[in-house]
Each structure stands twice: as C-alpha cells, then as structure tokens.
Symmetry: C2
Subunit: 123 residues, 2 copies
C-alpha cells in the first residue's frame, strides 16, 4: 500500500487540542470548525453541509457544547425556512478565541522538539 | 495532567498531538499508546488486547508507523506461539520521547489560556 510519492508526503504537527468536560468533549477540532462555520454562515444547515455532516449531527454537537459551558456558546433557532439560524454568543466567541490561542501557543512550544522529530520521518 | 477528581465532571485539556506524514498519521494518541504497550509487554497480542483492538489492527498501525519513519520504530516478528514479539527500535524510543516532550511543552504553554477558558465551563 505504498501510494505516497515524494511530492505527496508532507510532514506536519497538528495540535488537535481536546477540552474535556466530564465524559463530554466540550471543544475539539471538529466542534471548533463547526463553531467557526456557524459564526460565518449563521446557518446550521449550511455549516453542516460544509462539514459533510447531517443537520441532526450538527444539532447534537451544538447541544453538547451548550451543556458543557455555563452559558450557551451558540444561540440557535431550530427549523424554519432557512433550516435553523445560529449565532455565536459572547461565551462562544471567547471560547473560540482562547482555543485558537492555546493552539498557537502549543505549536510554538513544540517547535524545538518537532525540529528533532521531523528528520526521523521520511521526506 | 492528573485527571482523578472527586466528582464525575472534571474539566481538562488534552493535547492529543498528531504527527502527520503525507496522508498518514505517523503518531497520535492511539499509536503512541500502542508503542508504549509494545515496549512494556514486548508482545503485539498483549498490547492489542490491552487496547481492546484486534491483532490485525495492531499490525496495520505498526506497518503505518514503520512506513512513515525512515527507520522502523518497531521490530516485530509475526506469529509464533506468543502471538508475535515486538521490540521498540532506537528510532521508536526517540520518537516516543520527543512526542512526550512535545505533549508536556504543549500543556505548559497552554496553561495561562486554559485558566481563562476553564471558568467558562460547568464545574
């Protein structure tokens, strides 16, 4: 199964931070992408479509996030002609900004060790 | 990070770093756990059992890792009475150590922002 040619192989480190709240995942790469799309599109249906997930799946993720935080991260209106509107709350914007900062700091902090790990990988 | 708390709900941040090599995941939380168990048990069957995965699944992960690195990370002997022996190579030990260092540095670097994100979550 060796399908990777020289140009196709690219080595990279991806933080993929997970914020756990009890048994739930409050935030992770998928939920953060959903939050961003909800913020930019204002539509649950459109955000779900862009992520290749069902409307119901997006709702489940929103509900989990909202339950994990003291205040909702998304204010949503179910159904309607546009398939449900969504708006990031103040808490949602704060959580998103902090997650991105943590991501950036993680990448920066791991740079030196990544420089030592990378040469062990095939180019 | 210690996760043992009194209550069921406990908020935590988990780096879950992913090392990507082309289309493959060279290292991630699952593969790192497998590497550790292979190192400590010396047995593919036992490592697979402890992770609740099949022997074949463990083999697939080992093959992927070995293909991603210039030198194999695991030296394995397929089959046999003990269900396949396994030994971490020098590269494997180095990769594992660097991954853990990156993990620790990530946790340390995200601490300040995590202190601001945590109060937004339910206790």
């Amino acid at each position: 199964m060796t399908t990777t040619g020289k140009s196709a192989t690219k080595n990279d480190v991806r933080p993929r931070l997970r914020i756990v709240s009890g048994r739930d995942i409050a935030l992770g790469p998928g939920k953060v992408e959903l939050l961003e799309l909800l913020g930019s599109t204002g539509s649950i249906m459109e955000a779900a479509r862009q992520m290749g997930m069902s409307y119901m799946r997006a709702w489940t993720l929103i509900r989990t996030m909202n339950q994990c935080f003291k205040e909702p991260v998304i204010r949503a209106v179910r159904g309607g002609s546009k398939g449900g509107g969504a708006r990031l709350t103040k808490t949602g914007r704060e959580a998103l900004a902090l997650y991105h900062k943590m991501n950036a700091r993680c990448l920066h902090a791991t740079k030196a060790d990544w420089k030592r790990l990378k040469p062990l990988l095939r180019d």
